[in-house]
């Protein structure tokens, strides 16, 4: 769709998408306003209306009154749009999009994710880098807090890897913490189904800056999707909208870790509105990062202990869906049915290491507390902890030590 000949020479042949993308990039444009403005009308017509017959556009907008704005403000916005539209050059926008390898879809155009098109709040225009065709398959969103614990990050990575192995598209927001861990897990080189990220800002605006490398890997191996035009800053208001997209695209939403009133709960609310299954990963009752997920479970939300739980929920969720689960997914669901038991704690552990291991929990325990619980000297405890860390049974986390599941070496 991005390649439609040389746009500079064929101004008349410029596709409708070029105008839609230009409109999306106008100053103070939001997805809601774009939706009102386009409403299935050809973008080229709206664009010329805005440029030349501002009064018509203005009447349209006033009649539909943008909620939350007084008429004066609406007039100001329209004025700003008109000025921006006069300066904008759709041909140039189109050329830049194709040069940067960014694909554009309009709602209803072929290639627009089918599941999203059915949604009430579906964005008029979508931008993507990489490939997002896999979104037609079964799709699970892994979401959670940005300040994840070691436990949360490792569970997210594990779920990401196992789901991706089972042929499920892992969907997340490419934020720090759980999102990043889930993508890392799903990006394992041999994974058959590349993950997709839905981001708040433009697809070319790396945010947070620390995830630049992950961003590039995802662009190469999977896909990055956004309703914000390229170059759009990741402003605050964009993230709840982004969460709505994640909920609309996924068959199942799994909350890995969430603080009380965390941002991931926006996604849960959006999923609930759409009747999308929500699962939560249980955590320690002492960990603030699991407060949100634990209360979801208390409220009757399903539990995701491992990929098998998620796959079972996915099978149910997809039962009524026109698209069936691939054979790989079904096989994986069956195969992982018998749950692993606790890892056999290595018989090599000494008595002191045993007592130190018993002093640890799934949340960080301060070194001093470990000493106190095990009743050992500081140096003895430190040595035992380092040994346990070498065996993969303990890990330094935050300001203390956390018990670690030995299976994941």
């Amino acid at each position: 769709m991005s390649s439609s000949g040389d746009p500079t020479n064929q101004r008349a042949a410029l596709p409708d998408l070029a105008y839609a993308a230009t409109l999306a990039g106008l100053v103070s444009m939001t997805p809601q306003r774009l939706q009102r403005l386009l409403r299935g009308r050809p973008a080229e017509q709206v664009f010329t209306d805005l440029r030349t017959r501002a009064r018509l556009a203005s009447r349209l907008m006033r009649a539909e009154s943008i909620p939350g704005h007084r008429a004066l403000r609406t007039a100001q916005i329209l004025d700003a749009w008109r000025k921006a539209a006069i300066e904008a050059n759709p041909a140039l926008v189109w050329e830049q999009l194709s040069l940067s390898g960014t694909t554009v879809w309009r709602r209803g155009s072929p290639g627009y994710p089918a599941r999203l098109a059915e949604d009430r709040a579906a964005p008029e225009v979508l931008f993507a880098r990489g490939s997002i065709a896999q979104l037609d398959g079964p799709c699970v969103a892994l979401v959670g807090t940005r300040s994840a614990t070691y436990y949360g990050s490792s569970v997210a990575a594990e779920l990401g890897a196992n789901l991706s192995d089972a042929g499920v598209v892992v969907l997340s927001g490419l934020a720090a913490g759980i999102d990043a861990a889930a993508h890392e897990g799903a990006l394992a080189p041999e994974s058959p189904t590349p993950p997709v990220a839905v981001v708040g800002g433009g697809v070319d605006v790396v945010y947070p800056a620390s995830s630049g490398r992950l961003w590039a890997r995802l662009e190469a191996a999977g896909g990055i999707l956004s309703e914000a035009p390229p170059g759009a800053a990741p402003e605050r208001w964009r993230f709840p909208l982004r969460n709505r997209l994640i909920a609309a695209l996924a068959h199942v939403v799994v909350v890995v870790e969430s603080h009380k009133a965390g941002g991931a709960l926006h996604t849960v609310a959006a999923a609930d509105e759409r009747g999308v299954t929500v699962l939560a990963v249980p955590g320690s009752v002492r960990s603030p990062a699991s407060e949100g997920t634990n209360s979801l479970i208390a409220d009757g939300c399903g539990m995701a202990r491992d990929a098998a739980d998620v796959l079972a929920a996915l099978e149910l969720a997809c039962a009524g869906d026109s698209r069936r689960l691939g054979p790989g997914v079904v096989a994986a669901t069956r195969a992982s049915a018998p749950r692993d038991t606790l890892p056999p704690v290595s018989a090599r552990l000494s008595a002191t290491e045993h007592s130190v291991l018993e002093a640890l929990e799934d949340v960080a325990v301060s070194f001093e507390l470990v000493c106190e619980r095990s009743g050992l000297e500081l140096a003895t405890t430190a040595v035992a902890l380092e040994h346990l860390a070498a065996l993969g049974l303990a890990v330094r986390s935050g300001s203390g030590w956390e018990r670690r599941d030995g299976r994941r070496g």
Binding site: S147, T149, A156, F367, V383
Partner: protein, 521 residues
Amino acid sequence: MIASIPSATLLGVRGRPVLVEVHVSNGLPGFTVVGLPDAACREARDRVRAALLSSGLPWPLRRVTVNLAPSGVRKTGAGLDLPIAVGLLVATGELDSAAVCGCAFVGELGLDGTIRAVPGVLPLVDALSSPAVVLPPACIPEALLVGGQIVRTARSLRELVDALSGRIAWPDLALATPVHHQRVPAPSGTTAAGGYHAREPLDLADVRGQPVGRLAVEVAAAGGHHLLLSGRPGSGKTMLAERLPSVLPPLDEAQLLETCRIHSAAALPLPPAGERRPPFRAPHHGISAPALIGGGSSWMRPGEVSLATNGVLFLDELGEFPAALLDLLRQPLEEGVIRVARARATVSFPARFLLVGAMNPCPCGERQGVGSCVCSAAQLARYLRRLSGPLLDRFDLHVAVGRPAVRDLLDATPGESSSVVAQRVERVRRLARRRGVTANAELPTASLDQHAPLTKGARLLLERQLCSGALSARGLDRVRRVALTLADLEVSQTTVDEGHVAMALELRAGRTALLGGSREP
């Protein structure tokens, strides 16, 4: 018609000899001071004139030229009032030149002829080579710390003239009883510094629980390792840091003299007689750069880093200090001196201190790995960005201090007292001196293998840390030095074993807690 009187002026923490030449000749009555005097020095003219007249001495109605040699060095302060007055009296024949021969003068004059104290007498006297010096009464105790010269004093210009011409005996030095509160008022803003040690000695026995925090303080004192304490408000970071001087070894003669010299140059009270505790400086985070590292517009005053020499520089709320200010500390931490360059002069101040920082793990203070912190990721990043990597690298010890357990707080049995800990610290410092350094933290990398041999277990543990990327090459040396100090603290240890290394790693674990280094799966 011409007189030359030796005196001295202060440049940084060093005195520089100055020859005050006074020339009186016929011509229009006038008084000129040449030879790079600063404002206070140029005002000497009016003070000297009033002091002479109120002492009943004649003011020459002739042309007077005062030259302060060497002319290229900037002269600061009012300490040259007295030599100018004496030079004038000699040049006008009021005093016999033989009477002032071999005698140097330092002092400020009051309009009534009183001789007033000046800052930095200790380094000034150091710089003077004349066999005798005449000083303001309040400066006598400082001058006596140096020794080697005949020290004389007089309360007023009249008394001085009488004593010089032999009409009366020199006033008794002991009679000129100086008291500290009579000293010159210190430059603005230093009142908080109060006495040398504002408070009674604090004892480590007051700290309840906190075994790791206590150990960190002990290791910092024993090995001279810089210490960073991070933790939530109320966890006892400041309490621990303030007790560090109590376990440091007492100052020796040379150190005491150096500390006195710096305090004298800064016009701060000297340690009282018999006080051997190392200095403890805790500047507020609103401090300016010149106040921290030294300098100033006219007077090169030593900053907090120099005042903390031989002692502790405690930066509470390290995260609140501007980043640019903290990076100024890198040179003194590396070289033990701070060079302050100004247009007129470049001055080296000594700056060998033990740096202790305390900070909250985040702006709201509640972040402890995972906690009830309300800071956004951006706020946190901005907060942590103030601490540059190179500065954080200087801290061998980085401990995340947890709130003490309730049981420990209510437990009435006191912890180990500072005096017991100080004995162990003293022994470790002795071992370090045998290795040719004053503290283990200064051991060069090359000699670590010789002085801190590792056992097999310790080597394995370090290898694992290096392979997993938890430790860098620079971090490795730091861990080894701390492990050596830990080994030294045990009486019977000659090698660094696994326990020492594991504990040394634990004593820098606060770094990962603060920067969240181990969050990645």
